[in-house]
Symmetry: C2
Subunit: 195 residues, 2 copies
DNA sequence: GTCTATAACTCGATAGAC
DNA sequence: GTCTATCGAGTTATAGAC
């Protein structure tokens, strides 16, 4: 994986993020990012291989971001807040591409399997681990799925209607709902060594 | 709008729902639904006009479904439950198309403006009206946005990982969160004539 | 309204020099 | 690694008979 390829890939991702994947030919793409159609074939292979490389890049950086957001677990519930802030900040740039690529995973395209895993399963695991500090494992799983859903859904609505303030307020409201639920819950069955 | 066109449109929607819009040429589409490329042009116009007609059809039936789901307001909170059931039932058939078309609204394509309105604004209004029976208008708006987001987000996760049972459980868990929040809330500021 | 045929164009992919 | 040139297939859209 040469430096030239890395450089090219970054520009391809940026172009797709701004313009979408659909209706973008290799010709148009190459001209827009200052390279030639020939170079795209040379570095990536077919058009599908370009898309696959983009999807892998997005999946990879999403995984990295997740790891960073959940690294500091001194205040586990804050991970949810940090996760939403990061999501909303990247919305303008990567939001629409996020959903467009997600549809590839939904249609079970093999090259998008890893992305699907990162988009849902990885997040579910992370939030389940967080909630298991406060409630029993079964409810932790349910709360995790709701939380991941809220993240995806608020991003969806934000991208469609552009109401960032409303989205932020809703995220805060959800945090209240979760805190209330956890506080009135009996807590995890086993003893937890809270840090 | 002739009966032939209506009939054709229904088949186009069905094909797009099963196969996606991208990478589908008019030739392929026409052959698959038992018509000719010429007829698509005749009834709809350009390829873009076909897509616009599909989007309008989806927006229209979504609006109809919403109206039906919120018509019976004897138990307002049940609307959320009915909404989720309807969403999950249609997931396999229309879920991926829903998100694919949503990206057109996110990119502010003019022909998708109405769809965006139906996908978010209309739902926000409906759920805000529901919650205003229980809490003050400001919190009702926030809860409505969370609720709409949960619907979109749980559908997203369901389509990506296929876990219908997990999605249903999460929807039920969210209903518990909302009920708890409403019960511990002071209620709406003005007197409400509860039915 | 429906058909066949085709014009005019763009696409992905490759050839081959440097 | 990067360029220009091009092949062959596939695309939208239209023409024109019935």
């Amino acid at each position: 994986m040469s430096a030239a390829r890395e450089d090219l890939l970054a520009r391809v991702v940026d172009y797709y993020a701004r313009n979408g994947v659909r209706d973008t030919s290799l010709r148009t793409l190459a001209a827009a990012i200052g390279t030639s159609q020939r170079m795209l074939h040379y570095h990536f292979g077919s058009r599908g291989d370009v898309l696959a490389a983009v999807i892998e890049a997005i999946a990879g950086s999403q995984a990295d971001q997740m790891a960073a957001l959940f690294a500091d677990d001194s205040d586990p519930l804050a991970a949810g807040r940090r996760n939403w802030v990061a999501t909303a900040e990247g919305a303008d740039r990567y939001g629409a591409l996020w959903f467009e690529l997600a549809t590839h995973a939904m249609r079970r395209e093999p090259y998008a399997a890893h992305l699907g895993e990162v988009m849902v399963a990885a997040q579910l695991r992370a939030f389940t681990a967080v909630y298991e500090r406060y409630v029993d494992p079964s409810r932790a799983r349910r709360l995790a799925r709701v939380t991941v859903g809220v993240g995806q859904g608020l991003l969806f609505d934000l991208l469609v209607d552009g109401d960032r303030e409303g989205a932020d307020e809703a995220a805060a409201e959800f945090a209240v709902l979760v805190r209330t639920a956890i506080e009135s819950d009996g807590g995890p069955p086993a003893a937890s060594t809270s840090g």
